[in-house]
Structures are given as structure tokens and as C-alpha cells.
Amino acid sequence: MSVFEGFRFRHVTSPIHRLDPRVKFLYVLAMFILAVVFTEFFPLLVLFFLQLPFVFVAGVKKEWLRSLRGAAFLATVIFVFNFVFGFFYRTYTGTALLEFSLAMSLRFLVLVESFSVFFLTTSPDHLSLALEQSHVPYEFTFAFTTAVRFVPVLAEEAQTIMDAQKARGLELERGNFLKRVRNYIPILIPLIVSAIRRSLELAEAMESRAWGASPKRTNLYVLKMRANDLVLIALSIMLLAVGVYVRYYVSIPSLSMFLPPLPF
């Protein structure tokens, strides 16, 4: 569950928290594109460290580290898969293989960390406001916020169900891999059933409070762009432009320039 901790919003204020969520999303999108554009190690490393100022200004270092720690396992899996398959299919050899595999797991980390910063510094309320004011239909906005809002509730429920089944002698850690997966059936079925029950109840509660009665909704808060937001827009566009320029016109240094040739 620690990965999710790295995405959970906490109420604090910082210049990053106050930014317009739409602009922040634009920035994350720019990071996303850049991370996908490059397959080399060094540019991805630069992208990785590019997020650090945001993390420190927002004061979410602890949560951010936790999300990285959570992602470390998957990053390792990505590295191993790329390395093993690259080795057998000979798509890359030697240092290039090492670099490619490292770059792929680093790309994953860049994606995780930038999304983590976004979710750590944007309250669910702001997020839905941003969606609404970007003319996303309210039904979708509401569904999205509700989903976010129920994650901790579901996590707590999963814990209770685990306790209840353990009290009936279920041992989650017993048996081989397949058996262990099967051990989770007694957890998943009650969890899914109660989630469906809860959604029906929620729907009824919404109906009884006249949800959707007025087609045109107004908001108490209206998102407005400020100077800082404009700066971030400019920064995002600039970074994208630099990225594209580097991609096409600059020869990117590779690991093999710094490492002796490797024997695989």
C-alpha cells in the first residue's frame, strides 16, 4: 500500500500547492512526453532531477520518497525484463544493453515521481474543479472525485476483511505462488461485493438529494491563472522545445563513453 501513500493529498500550503491544477497537469503532461521521447540514460537522469525543486518547494519530500520506494520494486522488474530479453534477442549488447535497461526503469521512475508530485500537491476538490472548468461533463468529474475519495475507505475495508478471514484460519503467506494468489479470493470477493453495495447506496443517497436536478451548476470557487501559473506554462513549453531540439539536433552522450566495454 505504500505506493498509494505517495499519491495521497495532505492539506498544506506551498507555492506549488497554490498553482492552477490545469497548469500543473500541463507540466506533468510535458514531463510525460519528454520521458517517452528519450530512450537514453542521461536525458532521463536530467528529467529525474528536474522534479527535485518542485518536491522541495512543495515540502512533500517524505511522501515523495515513499512513492519512489514503492515504485522501486516495479522499476527493478522493468530493468530485469529489459535486460534479460535484450540479452537473449540481441537487440542491444554490452554497455548499450545496460544503458537501455537502466533508461527504461528510470523512465518509469520519472513518470511515477512527476505524477506523484502532481497528486501530492493537488487537492481532489481542486482537481474536480479543474476538470469541470475544462468543460468535462459533471457526471465524469463527479465519478472521478468519488473514486479518489473512496480509495482510503476501501483500503480500510480490505484490512478489516483480511482480519476477518485470518480469524477463520486463512493464511495468506502459505503455499506456492499460485496458492498464494488463490488465498486472496476470500479477500477480494467480499471487497468487491461491498464496493458494489456501497455504490448502489451512494446512488440512492445522491438521488434522494436531487443530484443532477439543475443542468447548469455554479461554483463557489473559480480557478484563475496567476503570474506563477504563467511562469510554469512558459517553463513547460520551453522544456518541451528544448527536449525536441536535443532529440533531433544534439548527439546525446551514452554510458559507453564512461564505462569500459562490457562482456555481454
Binding site: 475495508e157 478489516t160 476483511i161 482480519d163 476477518a164 478471514q165 485470518k166 480469524a167 477463520r168 484460519g169 486463512l170 493464511e171 479470493i185 476470500p186 470477493i189 467480499p190 461485493v193 461491498s194 453495495r197
Partner: protein, 274 residues
């Protein structure tokens, strides 16, 4: 049977739910743990089968520390019926649901069959043996959950809020059932808010407030002590309130159940010659 020695427990969120609790429950005892929301009742009983391990102090079950054995092992001795049956039901039929725990404990198939049928009979569920537990009513689901625990015949049975969502008749059935279980020598621990229910059962009452035990003794003594009950935010049984009000007419102030009240009133009427 269960020994709790100076246990403190802090949740990962930093909330201290138990701040120094000591309690001994003997074999064959019937204990009701009462107190307001957040007093630490459920946290305490979750220590009895090892679902929670004390942050400080020790919990011994049959002389073995809960830190040294798995929940699955302890569950064999200490059966725990959760408040909400929907948190545990997942099988296609009621029969399978009750057999689940028995399979986990490694009973033989022939014995499983016998025990499941026994438990179905015990809780009057035999007609539902092939029904999906999800098709049953709330009260019936609760009975299935209870049957699924009683099936493996644990020495201790813990019931977390067993009366919630049950109508009067169901409650009365449950009460008789619990008293009967206790009569057969089982240790029964009930966690509840339901004062009237406890009053009719006459168990030993453990009163909790803010993570501590504030009183421990006979139901008759504790439920009629208004300072204690108000400290734990519970209201004395209605019949007790009446008798407390009639105290100045010479009525006893320690009446908690209706049949006893009837007897006292009857005696009074006879004595006064009416």
C-alpha cells in the same frame, strides 16, 4: 485462559487505543466488554486472537504469548465473530462458507461434513445449506457468520456487537444461544453497547473508557452504578432507572432485568396486602 498484562497499543497513525490494560478471563467465564465508541473495546478483543499485537505488555492465551503464534493457530482456540458478516462471506453456498474455516484448519472431509451439518442445525440454517449467502437477509447472514465460527468448536468465542441490526426476537434467540454456549463451558466474550441485552444476560461486565478499564465486576453492580455508567457514556437499563427512581419507597436499587423486577414488584404488592 486469556491473560492481558499491562497492554498498551498504538495504531500506526499514532492514536493510542489502549493505555495500560490488565485483565484476566478464566475458562468458562461470560464477559461483556462495554464502553463508548472509541473506548478501545474492539482493539482489546483483537488482541485475544493475535490480530493485533501489543505495542507494550503481553497477552497470553492458554499461557502462550500471542506474539509467538500466528493468528491462524490462535484462531483454533479463540473464535472471533466480526461485527459485519459481509466482511467475511464469499462462498457460493452457505455450506461451503461454513466449511471454509474447517478446511483451513485441516479437518478431514468426513469430519467437516459432520461439523457443518451440526452448525447448520444449531443456528437453524439447514434449509439454506445450498443457498448463496448473499441471498440471505441481514440477520441470517449474521447467523451464518456465527455458525462458520462455532463449527470448529473454539474454546473461546468472541462476538463483536452481535445485537446490531437484529430485531427483538432475534436478540432473544441470540441471548438464549449465548447463555447456552456458556452453560456448555465455553468462554464467551461479547463486545457491545446494548445495555438491555447485557442486563438480561447477567455476565461479568468490563467497562472501558479512553483506552482504560474503569470498572470490572458483576453486571448487577456495575450497571446500577450511575457514576460508572455515565463515565463510560452508557445509560443504565430502563428497568434500573425506574427502580432508582423508586428508591425512596424502599425498592432495591440493584435490579437490572425484567423478570427480577416483576418478582420484586409482586412481593411488594403481596406484602402491602393488595
Amino acid at each position: 485462559m486469556i491473560e492481558v498484562k499491562d497492554v498498551r497499543f498504538t495504531y500506526p497513525t499514532g492514536v493510542e487505543a489502549l493505555s495500560g490494560v490488565s485483565l484476566t478471563i478464566e475458562e468458562g467465564e461470560f464477559v461483556a466488554i462495554m464502553g463508548q465508541n472509541g473506548a478501545g473495546k474492539t482493539t482489546l478483543v483483537k488482541h485475544f486472537n493475535g490480530l493485533l499485537k501489543p505495542t507494550k505488555g503481553t497477552v497470553l492465551v492458554d499461557g502462550v504469548s500471542t506474539r509467538d503464534v500466528s493468528v491462524a493457530k490462535l484462531a483454533r482456540t479463540v473464535g472471533f465473530v466480526f461485527q459485519n458478516p459481509d466482511h467475511q462471506l464469499f462462498c457460493e453456498t452457505v455450506w461451503e462458507e461454513i466449511a471454509f474455516a474447517l478446511r483451513n484448519f485441516g479437518f478431514e472431509e468426513a469430519i467437516i461434513e459432520k461439523r457443518v451439518d451440526w452448525a447448520l442445525n444449531l443456528l437453524d440454517l439447514i434449509e439454506y445449506r445450498q443457498t448463496s449467502p448473499f441471498m440471505l437477509s441481514g440477520g441470517e447472514r449474521k447467523r451464518v457468520a456465527l455458525a462458520s465460527v462455532l463449527a470448529w468448536d473454539p474454546k473461546v468465542v468472541i462476538l463483536d456487537e452481535p445485537t446490531i441490526g437484529q430485531d427483538h426476537r432475534q436478540k432473544e434467540n441470540l441471548r438464549q444461544f449465548i447463555v447456552q454456549l456458556n452453560g456448555q463451558g465455553k468462554t464467551v466474550v461479547v463486545v457491545t453497547h446494548d445495555v438491555e441485552f447485557v442486563a438480561e444476560c447477567h455476565p461479568r461486565v468490563v467497562l472501558m473508557s479512553a483506552g482504560k478499564i474503569v470498572a470490572d465486576g458483576e453486571a448487577k453492580k456495575i450497571l446500577t452504578d450511575t457514576t460508572l455508567t455515565s463515565m463510560a457514556s452508557i445509560v443504565p437499563p430502563q428497568i434500573t432507572q425506574i427502580f432508582l427512581g423508586l428508591n425512596d419507597l424502599g425498592f432495591p436499587s440493584d435490579v437490572i432485568d425484567v423478570s427480577e423486577a416483576k418478582r420484586v414488584l409482586f412481593d411488594y404488592l403481596v406484602r402491602s396486602g393488595r
